[in-house]
């Protein structure tokens, strides 16, 4: 900024930035003018959205009976996928790890996540690009994604998976396909995806062999026949027309539904997609639960919620709204070092800084998570990463139990909407819980 000492007519107090054109908007217009193509980036939505922070719990008092925080049991185990599957998933905690591809993530990151999830007794999930031996071996419970691209989809891997997840959409980009830019396409990644090295991979946004819910029902029948009805089949949707999508997923025969709100992360997609498509996780959960209740399928078809889950409080609020479990992706990456203030000069070299980095798409991750570069990847020790993630999951779990006990619940799935109120009118309307200090739920008679 110029100094007023340079010019007697200059008054810094008179400078007023535009609310319509703040600095980041100006920078984006300049970048677009220079490059002529939309911005592609990683991470999730950066705009402010209604979220679980807008809800608070009503701890026990005269009319409710709390549980002792350090003495009385508050169970956390969940079963996922017992609608049709012979072998449903039995998870010790209601926090699972979301699908993230080998390719987007390096092998050390995948191994860290698998080891931590296994120690905590929960599941992890493959991504676009298939299953690696490292993640299968490090993950006690591994969910295998069936994505539109079908990159690396292998019948042997289908049979060694603990569950299948048919990905219809993703919260960061409902209606769009995945991206993996050429700089991350090493020989191993290219071989797994049957594509040349170095090309920009733009995955399909629709499945190649079905086009609607009626087809999907038949597709799921095929997958069940292939797996001899042994393992659960989940359907993942990005949060948009949630009530319809959940009902159609139930009709299509899902054992469980993964619902990803717009705060959900990605390794690479258009910024305009991340910021402008989909609805936040908060209203999405409530709509999904309503749909399941209407069909008498709540708790029969389990609901796993993802997109912006950061703490035990977020988990507790999602469960209280009726979810059976949550899934974390971005937060798990942060736990193993994403945006940690180390190797600051390497953040600068890719044009960012710790706390602001969304440069997963570049393949130059300074902390060795979203990279295929051996030098950068060596910065993440899988055992250290696993320890960090285990600690983080343990912390979330303790927070979740603390809140559940305070509400008098001996199992975290006993949390209910009546345990919460909203701090804003918007959150009250979206979550369908009363505005704090009132009995008013916007939209209800």
């Amino acid at each position: 900024m110029p100094s007023d000492s340079d010019n007697p007519h200059f008054d810094a107090r008179a400078l007023r930035s535009s609310s319509t054109f703040p600095e980041h908007v100006l920078a984006e217009i300049h970048r677009a003018a220079d490059q002529g193509v939309y911005e592609i980036r990683g991470f999730g939505a950066k705009r402010s959205l209604p979220d679980f922070d807008d809800l608070v719990f009503l701890g026990a008092s005269m009319s409710r009976y709390p549980l002792e925080g350090y003495r009385e049991t508050c169970a956390t185990d969940v079963i996922i996928g017992n609608r049709y599957a012979e072998r449903p998933l039995h998870l010790n905690i209601p926090i699972t790890i979301a699908g993230m591809s080998f390719g987007a993530l390096g092998a050390n990151a995948k191994e860290s996540i698998g080891l931590a999830a296994s120690e905590m007794g929960t599941s992890t999930t493959t991504g676009d690009g298939g299953m690696t031996d490292e993640e299968r071996n490090s993950s006690k419970t591994l969910i295998y994604q069936v994505l539109p691209s079908r990159y690396g989809l292998n019948p042997d891997d289908v049979r060694r998976a603990d569950a299948l997840e048919v990905v219809v959409g993703q919260g960061a980009k409902p209606g769009g396909g995945g991206m993996l830019l050429g700089q991350k396409i090493t020989e191993r990644v290219a071989e797994m995806r049957n594509l040349p090295t170095g090309i920009d991979q733009r995955s399909a946004c629709r499945h190649p062999d079905w086009t609607g819910p009626d087809d999907l029902e038949i597709k799921i029948q095929e997958l069940r026949e292939i797996t001899d009805y042994q393992i659960p089949i989940l359907i993942k949707v990005g949060a948009t027309r949630v009530e319809y999508d959940v009902a159609l997923a139930v009709k299509a025969g899902a054992d469980a539904i993964v619902l990803d709100g717009m705060q959900g992360g990605t390794a690479a997609t258009q910024d305009v997609f991340i910021e402008h498509v989909g609805i936040p996780t908060l209203p999405a959960v409530r709509q999904a639960v309503n749909s399941l209740i209407d069909l008498d399928m709540h708790r029969k078809v389990q609901l796993i919620v993802s997109g912006g889950i950061r703490s035990g409080a977020d988990v507790a609020k999602a469960l209280a709204l009726g979810a059976d479990a949550v899934s974390i992706g971005s937060a798990a990456m942060v736990a193993i070092g994403c945006n940690r203030p180390v190797f600051v000069e390497d953040y600068a070299a890719i044009g960012t800084a710790p706390g602001f980095c969304h440069h997963c798409h570049t393949g130059r991750c300074p902390v060795g998570i979203t990279t295929q570069d051996p030098h950068l990847e060596s910065r993440l020790n899988p055992k250290q990463g696993a320890r960090w993630l285990k600690n983080y999951l343990s912390t979330m779990l303790l927070e979740l139990q603390t809140l559940a006990r305070a509400c008098g619940k001996s199992h975290v799935l006993n949390l209910e909407p009546e345990d919460m109120v909203a701090l804003t009118v918007e959150a009250a309307a979206m979550a369908q819980v009363p505005l704090a200090g009132t009995s008013w739920i916007p939209g209800r008679e």
Partner: protein, 228 residues
């Protein structure tokens, strides 16, 4: 061994097909009668066995096939031999949409015609169609070969990667980034072998070859016109 799908449950039949490989001995051919358009017949095969389906099948017959040789004595519904990795599937009649979708290997032969998106997202499979293919066939085809002995409807090979497409008849139009390419001797030899394996006797000289112009491999704004 014979099954009759008017009597035997599909689950029972597929389970028997999956379990037969555990015997580690010679497995006799299977015949499945009266499929009557049922979906997911003979899917998830893992062993080198012969399966004949005597009639028309619905969706996904031979899906995710590994090693088995499957013959359909009739027409096939959508997604026949989807994601096949090895072995073969022969359809004696016509096939519906997405035939051979995302197949990684093996040989899919269709004596008649196929509907749209034949070979969509193919990843190494070989597909030979005796008749014509519908629109957007070989869409986003990554690798492998699609041979069309008849005509191809519009937008053939849209957004194609490294797959090779051979067409004997007319091509209504090519999709984004798909172009006609020179038929070099190695292509002609490979095509000749595929035709022979599939039981067709058309002269190789009748075919033209199509593939990717590769202008969309790395996104540059000045190549955006390739997307129509």
């Amino acid at each position: 061994m014979e099954f009759d799908l008017t009597i035997d449950a599909l689950r029972h039949v597929n389970q028997a097909l999956h379990d037969c490989g555990h015997n580690h001995g010679d497995v006799k051919p299977f015949v499945i009668r009266n499929p009557k358009g049922r979906h997911a017949v003979a899917v998830g095969m893992t062993h080198e066995i012969q399966v004949t389906v005597d009639g028309h099948v619905g969706y996904y017959c031979g899906g995710m096939n590994q090693s088995a040789n499957i013959i359909v004595r009739g027409n096939a519904g959508p997604g026949v031999a989807e994601n096949m990795v090895s072995g073969s599937v022969l359809v004696e009649g016509n096939a519906s949409q997405y035939a051979g979708a995302s197949g990684h290997g093996g040989l899919l032969t269709i004596k008649g015609n196929t509907s749209s998106r034949c070979g969509i997202s193919m990843k190494g499979i070989d597909i030979v169609v005796g008749g014509s293919v519908g629109h957007f066939s070989a869409f986003m085809a990554q690798s492998g070969r699609l041979v069309v002995c008849g005509d191809a409807e519009h937008d053939l090979g849209d957004s194609i990667y490294e797959a090779q497409v051979f067409v004997r008849g007319d091509v209504e139009s090519l999709g984004s980034d798909c172009i006609e390419k020179e038929m070099r001797p190695e292509h002609a030899q490979a095509l000749d072998r595929l035709l022979e394996q599939s039981g067709f006797e058309f002269p190789v000289a009748d075919f033209r070859r199509f593939g990717s112009a590769r202008t969309l491999y790395n996104f540059k704004i000045d190549n955006a016109d390739a997307i129509r």
